[in-house]
Assembly symmetry: C2
Homo-oligomer: 116 residues x 2
């Protein structure tokens, strides 16, 4: 596996631009509502209206978050008549989420244990 952040071969620190791009990816995932949208798309593509129902947010808000998610390539867009369907474009983003969930779990367990 090639490591771009933790490079075994080159010690040079990442460029400003590179760090900005990586940070942007994380930042996009750093909003509960966007995670909710992502979760709603796990079992396949959905239209904006369906996502509005699934999330309970306003149409405008969902639409904006969808632009953000699609803008960074996390979601794909497909137009069909009046409706626009969004889908998870790179399933590996779900691995990311699970990774974070896993370490969150571990930390919560550790803290619980520390309380006794």
């Amino acid at each position: 596996m090639s490591r771009a952040f933790v490079s075994k071969t080159q010690k040079r620190s990442p460029s400003e631009d590179f760090l900005r791009m990586v940070a942007e990816r994380f930042r996009v995932l750093g909003e509960p509502m966007r995670l909710r949208i992502l979760h709603a798309l796990i079992d396949g593509e959905k239209s904006v209206t369906e996502l509005v129902e699934a999330t309970g947010a306003t149409q405008a808000n969902v639409s904006r978050h969808l632009q953000t998610l699609a803008g960074t390539g996390i979601l794909g867009r497909r137009k069909e008549g009046l409706r626009v369907f969004y889908r998870i474009r790179d399933q590996s983003v779900l691995d990311l989420c699970d990774h974070v969930c896993g370490s969150l779990d571990r930390d919560l367990r550790e803290r619980t244990k520390a309380l006794r």
Copy 2:
């Protein structure tokens, strides 16, 4: 592997609190300066002053980011005399970064290819 975000067994959507916690983890990683600090800590613990030198940021700013990173359990703290040393507490956070770097790479390649 247990999946907390993408659960095969339960379809119930994640609670508000859970999503907030997951989002917070991503958000913490969503700042270039914090990634820079993280990168500086790859080859072992460093004092605040060393991190100030490595990142080029002000002492106050580095200190604040360190509080943030330590607060979510990403970094560990060790006090020795006047100095405080920080270290990466859970190495798996580096996997996360590389994961993002990888998908970033893929997207950039795809866009480059699309230009031709």
